[in-house]
């Protein structure tokens, strides 16, 4: 790998540290009585309300339909995720330092796997909260489940729930895309095996002057 690609990989790995400080995902709830909205943010290690009392108020509202209380402490993944993220970051830095293509492909594979596992896990939690309801709940609507969407908007009774990546999530996506791009360039370069740098490949791909 050339120096530029290794630098890009290192920057992408370091950018992942931002995920310790920025929320990954957001779920926003709007209802006629909540014109100001309620919101929840999922971080690498916890879940918080957007407003200081939003989580408490969401739990308060959820008790009517018998949904379990959302308690960050009771979700073991939130304890594992910071370590997993750290591991992936170190792997990325190691890849940048070593400059080995197989490490890059392996790292990319792990990142994609982590994303899929993370989203699947998120879906399963949503499913669990939305379906496993207290049978003594005040509001029971036959056939009604309250699973928020993975991505996008959905009406849940009077609430419109919108689930989207938050800033940290977008950064993770961007880092993933950049790494995938570098991996793609490296793959092409290795196939051509002519030792040209990624920049030249880019210029060629965009119709610019080949050097």
């Amino acid at each position: 790998m050339n120096k530029r690609n290794r630098t890009v990989i290192a920057v992408a790995a370091i950018a992942l540290t931002l995920l310790y400080f920025l929320p990954l995902w957001s779920i926003r709830l709007e209802a006629p009585q909540y014109p100001e909205g309620l919101g929840m943010r999922i971080w690498v290690n916890t879940i918080t309300g957007v407003g200081p009392n939003d989580l408490q108020n969401i739990n308060g509202l959820n008790h009517y339909i018998g949904m379990k209380t959302i308690e960050p402490e009771s979700i073991p993944e939130l304890a594992i995720m910071p370590w997993a993220l750290g591991f992936l970051m170190i792997l990325g830095l190691a890849t940048a330092m070593a400059g080995r293509r197989w490490m890059l492909y392996g790292w990319l594979g792990l990142l994609i796997a982590a994303a899929i596992v993370g989203l699947a896990d998120f879906y399963l939690w949503e499913y669990d909260y939305g379906h496993n309801l207290d049978p003594t709940a005040a509001i029971k609507i036959p056939g009604m489940a309250y699973q928020p969407p993975l991505v996008g908007s959905k009406m849940l009774l009077n609430f419109k729930a919108t689930s989207l990546p938050a800033l940290g999530g977008w950064i993770a996506l961007a880092a993933g895309a950049v790494i995938a791009g570098v991996a793609f360039l490296e793959l092409r370069a290795s196939r051509r095996n002519v030792g040209r740098d990624a920049g030249a490949v880019l210029r060629e791909a965009s119709g610019g002057d080949p050097t």
Binding site: E36, P52, N53, Q56, N57, G60, Y64, A138, I139
Partner: protein, 652 residues
């Protein structure tokens, strides 16, 4: 079938058309003001939009303050101040009872006249609102954080606290004067010996420190009736002006006996001079008794009794007070935004006299006195006069200013508002009011910085303005546009109680400081129950304390047993909600006092003395959620000496 439908449709259309014609012709016949359709859009605040101004109107005999939006006139809130308010427990809950303490005991009502917004540099600053209690002399402070009363100070040596509370340019003081002169100190004496024995007081109340309102000093003045006041600003900062009537010192049938003198007085008090004299130890510390009631950060009212007040006489302090002769029992006294002109409303006068502050200083300098009364120099009328507005109308009462060189005076007898020009003293416009305007109010129209745009006529007589509601009618207010050369009537709306006076302020100066709820974490009420796990019932002899929580949609505890006849039960209810607009109510059968409304994060206490054996319900009175009707509980009352153990719980 089709044919019949069409015929029906035609008949329908024709009917609608006829109906429309009738409705339209009725509207014209109904005598709405010409151009009513045009002005409607000027007061229309579309659903979901906000008004431009908060207006704070005194509740008059209701003792409260009402909050209206302008220009819509919509009622936004009643702020309970001097009268108990069972609707939310103000003056009934243990936390608010001390607010009503006075040297006369617990006084649960009053008559509130003049709301006054705090000022900085002569302009409204949106910190606080003050209002007077006319009957049992008091001044209250309202905080805008929660738009609630936080402080009430009783005024000693006062009776009929009418010329009150008028604020100085930087909220240093609110000025509060006696309407009724009385023996000072109070004593048993014949009423017929009024003259020379009864006196008035002008009190300067330190206002700029919340929680520390106090009577800084009082000025003893002759036994007249002191009616209204306005503080100087700009060049006249440091002075307060007060009208007086009954310079005849009559004590009976005042409508005749107090209307004899051709001129009464405006008292000009140099309060900066008074501060100097007090600092030098002038005057006397008079023994007295008055109450200061204050709610601190814990939102629990406490009373303290004060026993001394500093009293100054004119002879104690040279240059303290001057009298400006003013025709015929003047009512309002209003200083223009520049601080130079002092307009008086001689309610029986045929002119509006306007005094000049700079001429007043000259007259003082030249000792241009007509006479001296009780050590108070009476300046010569012609020496202090700036001009007279001729033929303004009948019964001038109050004047406010638009900041563009014009003044607006309410005419009680001729029932109109008259616009006149400062300097030329010419009447330039007039508009009828419905009926008999007392105060009028321009937003900021009594300050150095009027916000302008509107004048509101606050009327004393309503009669046919609205659908009749029996002999007792709401008072009428009219919103009048003053942005152009001609005044235009925009809106007529009913008000609560008797809105004597009002103040209005651009909405953002108050709105931005509002809280949505109280932080439960910061609740320092010692009876607070911050989690359901801490909810409990404690017996202390014959007192039973129920530490109760509310959250959508239950009480904890909601079943209580072991109360006995003869017990006094205190329900300490904490609202655990931490969300906007989720108050809970608490009501229990047979309560002799009131219900409670508990704001999120707040603790309120209701005393309940059961009078019967049985099982009695309590419930939430504020429709809080879809299961509000389920928010209820029972308290079991057993005979005295019963062996039913004290027990409590929810959902067991």
């Amino acid at each position: 079938m089709n044919q019949r439908l069409k015929t029906l449709q035609r008949i329908g259309l024709v009917t609608v058309a006829i109906g429309a014609v009738i409705v339209l012709s009725c509207q014209t016949q109904g005598g709405g003001p010409p151009g009513a359709q045009d002005v409607a859009s000027e007061v229309y605040v579309p659903p979901g939009s906000y008004d431009d101004f908060y207006a704070f109107m005194s509740g008059g005999f209701s003792g409260q303050v009402t909050v209206h939006g302008l220009p819509s006139g919509r009622l936004l809130k009643i702020i309970p101040v001097f009268s108990q308010f069972p609707e939310n427990g103000w003056g009934y809950s243990e936390e608010t009872l001390p607010m009503f303490m006075t040297s006369y005991g617990f006084v649960p009502w009053d008559d509130s006249h003049h709301p006054e917004l705090s000022q900085t540099g002569g302009a409204h600053d949106g910190r606080w609102l003050f209002i007077n209690a006319n009957n049992t002399p008091r001044v209250a402070r309202v905080f805008f954080k929660d738009t609630a009363t936080t402080e009430i100070l009783e005024i000693p040596n006062s009776a009929g606290n009418h010329a009150s509370p008028f604020i100085t340019e930087n909220s240093e003081y609110v000025v509060a004067s006696t309407r009724f002169s009385v023996p000072i100190p109070q004593r048993d004496m014949p009423i017929s010996e009024y003259r020379g024995n009864f006196q008035g007081t002008i009190s300067f109340i330190r206002a700029d420190q919340p929680g520390e309102m106090d009577v800084a000093f009082q000025v003893l003045v002759p036994g007249y009736d002191y009616d209204l006041s306005n503080a100087g600003r700009g060049p006249s900062h440091g002075w307060a002006f007060l009208t007086s009537y009954n310079s005849e010192e009559a004590h009976s049938l005042l409508e005749v006996t107090a209307s004899q003198n051709d001129k009464d007085f405006i008292a000009a008090v140099n309060w900066q001079r008074a501060e100097g004299c007090v600092a030098e130890g002038a005057g006397e510390e008079m023994p007295t008794e008055y109450y200061h009631n204050f709610r601190g950060e814990d939102r629990i009212a406490r009373s303290e009794v004060r026993n001394r007040v500093r009293v100054l006489r004119a002879e104690d302090c040279d240059g303290l007070v001057y009298f400006l002769p003013t025709p015929k029992s003047p009512h309002g006294v209003d200083v223009d935004p520049s601080g130079e002109f002092i307009a008086a409303g001689g309610k029986l006068a045929t002119v509006i006299p306007v005094h000049s502050f700079s001429r007043m200083l000259e007259a003082i300098e030249n000792e241009d006195y007509e006479t001296v009364i009780d050590g108070i120099p009476v300046l010569r009328y012609e020496a202090v006069l700036a001009g007279e507005v001729m033929e303004p109308g009948l019964g001038p009462l109050h004047t406010e200013f638009d900041g563009n060189g014009f003044a607006y005076t309410s005419m009680f007898i001729s029932s109109e508002i008259v616009k006149w020009e400062l300097g030329t003293w010419q009447v330039v416009d007039r508009i009828p009011a419905y009926y008999s305007t007392g105060h009028l109010m321009i937003p900021g129209g009594d300050t150095g910085q009027p916000w302008g745009r509107y004048v509101i006529a606050l009327n004393k007589i309503t009669k046919d303005r609205y659908l009749p509601t029996g002999p007792e009618l709401a008072h009428a207010a009219q919103l009048i546009d003053i942005s152009g050369d001609k005044m235009r009537l925009l809106l007529d709306f009913p008000t609560m109680g008797e809105p004597h006076y009002a103040q209005a302020i651009p909405a953002d100066l108050v709105r931005d400081g509002q809280v949505q709820f109280f932080s439960l974490e910061e609740n320092t009420n010692p009876a607070a129950t911050k989690t359901e796990a801490e909810a409990r019932v404690v017996r202390q002899g014959r007192q039973v304390r129920v530490y109760m929580t509310t959250i959508r949609t239950h009480f904890t505890p909601d079943n209580i047993e072991g109360i006995q006849l003869g017990d006094t039960v205190y329900f300490h209810v904490t609202n655990l909600e931490q969300d906007w607009d989720v108050p809970h109510g608490f009501a229990v059968i047979g309560a002799h006092n009131a219900e409670l409304l508990i704001m999120p994060g707040e603790t309120r206490t209701l005393k309940w003395v059961p009078t019967k054996v049985g099982v009695f319900p309590f419930y939430c009175t504020d429709f809080c959620s879809a299961l509000h009707q389920e928010m209820q509980g029972y308290v079991r009352v057993s005979p005295r000496g019963s062996n039913v153990p004290l027990s409590w719980g929810t959902g067991q």
